[in-house]
Amino acid sequence: MPAEATAPSPSPALLAVEGVTKRFAGVTALSDVSLEVRPGEILGLLGENGAGKSTLLKILSGVMPPSSGRIVFDGVEFNPHNPQDAKRLGIVTIYQELSLIPTLTVAENIFIGRAPLGPLGLVSWRKMEEDSRAIIARVGLDLDPTTPVSALSVAEQQLVEIARALSLKSRLIIMDEPTSALTETEVQKLMSIMGRLRKDGVAIMFVTHRLEEASAICDRMTVLRDGRLAGHLDRDGGPIKLPKIIEKMVGRAASELYARPTLRDVAGDVRLSVRGLRTVRDPQAPHAIVLEGVDLDLKAGEILGVAGLVGSGRTELARAIFGADRIAAGTITLDGKTIAPETPADAIALGIGLVPEDRKHQAIFAALGILTNFSIAALGRYSNAAGFMTERREREALASYRKTLSIRMASPEQPIEGLSGGNQQKVILARWLARDPKVLIVDEPTRGVDVGAKAEVHQILVQLAARGIAIMMISSELPEVLAVSDRIVTMRRGRITGEMPGIEATEEKLMELMALDQTQEATQ
């Protein structure tokens, strides 16, 4: 038992981690970490990007073995060799990087390896679909379960994973950033489910970078810093206070990291203007939201926050402007000139950038080095007229972004897949900063980014805006939207439902607009 664990155990630990160390080539991801989880409690696991949270969880799930150390589950030493071993003991995991099978339907993903059998021992598709409809309904998802997962948005995929995990018989549920793509509503639903599980005696390990969430739901917290145990925090009557958490995470007194930058008086010209924008139904995602006539102005030097619930069409709007999806009707003007980007390459040439929401599938080149990942959208900038890369300048640029964004990496040649999620996100941001666009659209820019880095990202966005870049920021995290936006629009079902200056906005007001339905909208 580690000395830090202060509170007397109300019941024996379900899981005890004793002195676990994990070394990768050159990197020690975990060093001598100990913690324990008891039945019927929610343990928050917190730490900055790259602190080793996911690594620890993967060890517990049998994905990889520890280099040294001991794990005891239910009083018995536990050496999982593969995820199945963990599953058999009732350890269920929701992984940080979505781990659904894209080619299979929602129903099949939920019942992977345990499809309900009918007579003759054959798979009963009907039962599988009916059951899965009920299962996803628990997390508030209303989808045809026969939809292939490849057609779902990130948020929907995250909900499906949560639904699947909850439908398994479990004694310990491990959740690695389950809420990173979710909005308030879904998060609330998840929280209440977690509460119910706690009552049923299930133990939960919960990782998130949204500290409010953690503070609200966790009974105890274990904080990691640079792969080492930074300490444990206990709920003392009330929720654990944010400054306390941050202090443990970053190792110094918590200044108000989540500072709301002073709102500037934006007087720039309209840079990007969208009128009557409609999109065609994407054949790959027939249930997806299509834009139903969006009007929007984006001024030079402003940060426009776009808020909405999952499936409100924010991503669609971004993709349509960026030339990634086909447009059915409407005009887009940039600096007064009508533009019609047919491909992202067109949009980029015009000075528009997009940081997509689905990092894994739409942004990173997993096996390629960080350097290539960084410079891919600005190859022209780092090559000479003959088409040769000017690698020295490229490296220098990366080095400077590495410093400003505090990207933790071993070397520019390291494959980006070896970085923690938050650090990957920073590389992608750097990719677009290197292009110096006129308009930068960021879709969930801080998904999976830790609290310190998040503030840095916000700072960077503000600085960019100050340089006259027009920024459109889509985020499912309302505090974030409130923190940095000069102006906020809300969306629902492919329409804009409201607009207000950032200074006047509150969560309540935004929620109301986001939930506004069509009839109310008509009367507005």
Partner: protein, 338 residues
């Protein structure tokens, strides 16, 4: 609504599955109509049965290959493995490696057709299993392992038979290649039965669905608790089994096991699977598609031969039509979805 139906392709009801193989199927129908108009005797039952018998050999292997390709694997060794299993079957059937054709084809001193069949499929399955083992344990990509297998099995076949064929099987064995049940050739019946079985396995068993899952995303499948390595090995066992079965039928049909049998089959077989809509990147595809793909190739070859198209022109036409058939399928799918 169309779109939702379309979406069910990877696991929905049968109508949707039919729609999926729609493109190749429509193209097949078109070809049959064209050939029949050109020469009505094309749809003589005799000719149709001929075609069925002709596609049964590569078709059987294509069934197994469907499993492999669904896992994002590939097996280039099937042609050589066919020759190897055929030679093994011949040795067992004849009780030796005598290359000569015995004068009376009835009186063999071997172990009979059943032993020959058993030997062929067991050897095929073991050979497939060994390759699967190399793929999963030695972490060598399937392309490399089975390319190695392609030359190894050919070398083994030549070594067994010292280059020559082994010919002359008894009537009971030959029945599997040349017999009829009613008017239907036995190889066609074997192929049809195997296709139905494979369809059921892939579509209605947990094992089948696991094959799709592994191909869709092996890492996610592992995280979901599937025994990915075992499933990967199993698909190579299956394709090996089918190569053995096809070898037995082919030897029975030709009354001879040749050391040069099956050269180039890997491409024909993989074409049938891919034209049938199975993705080489795994996770998407169906047995129905493979059957249609095999039929399309068979009809095309037979039909062109039937119309006495010169052999060189045949090559050109077959190549172009294969591309067109798949292009048509893609176009149709992009239309149906809207």
């Amino acid at each position: 609504m169309t779109s939702t139906t379309e979406q069910t392709q990877r696991g929905g009801i049968n109508v949707a599955r039919l729609l999926m193989s729609f493109g190749p199927l429509m193209f097949l129908a078109l070809l049959i109509i064209v050939f029949t108009v050109l020469k009505p005797s094309f749809i003589d039952p005799i000719n149709i049965f001929n075609i069925m018998r002709q596609i049964s050999i590569t078709g059987l292997i294509a069934l197994g290959m469907t499993f492999v390709i669904l896992t994002a694997g590939i097996d280039l060794s099937v042609g050589s493995l066919l020759a190897f299993c055929g030679m093994v079957a011949a040795v067992v059937a004849k009780g030796g490696t005598a290359n000569t054709l015995s004068l009376s084809t009835s009186g063999t001193q071997g172990f009979g057709w059943f032993a020959a069949l058993l030997a062929a499929v067991v050897v095929g399955a073991i050979a497939g299993g060994v390759q699967g083992f190399a793929i999963t344990r030695l972490k060598v990509p399937p392309f490399v392992v089975t390319l190695g297998g392609l030359t190894v099995f050919r070398g083994l076949t030549l070594t067994i038979s010292n280059g020559g064929p082994i010919s002359g099987f008894d009537a009971s064995m030959r029945w599997f290649g040349t017999g009829l049940i009613g008017p239907v050739p036995v190889p066609a019946i074997i192929f049809a039965a195997a296709a139905i079985l494979c369809h059921i396995v892939l579509r209605y068993t947990r094992y089948g669905r696991a094959v799709y899952a592994v191909g869709g995303n092996a890492e996610a499948a592992r995280l979901s608790g599937l025994r990915v390595d075992r499933i990967l090995i199993s698909v190579y066992v299956i394709v090996g089994f089918f190569a053995g079965l096809a070898a037995f039928v082919l030897s029975a049909r030709l009354n001879s096991s040749e050391a040069v049998a099956g050269i180039g089959y890997e491409l024909t077989v993989i074409s049938a699977v891919v034209i049938g809509g199975t993705s080489l990147f795994g996770g998407i595809g169906s047995v129905g598609g493979t059957v249609v793909g095999a039929a399309l190739i068979g009809v095309l070859q037979n039909g062109l031969q039937f119309n006495n198209v010169s052999s060189y022109t045949q090559s050109i036409v077959i190549g172009l039509i294969l591309i067109l058939a798949v292009a048509f399928d893609r176009w149709l799918k992009s239309r149906v979805r809207r």
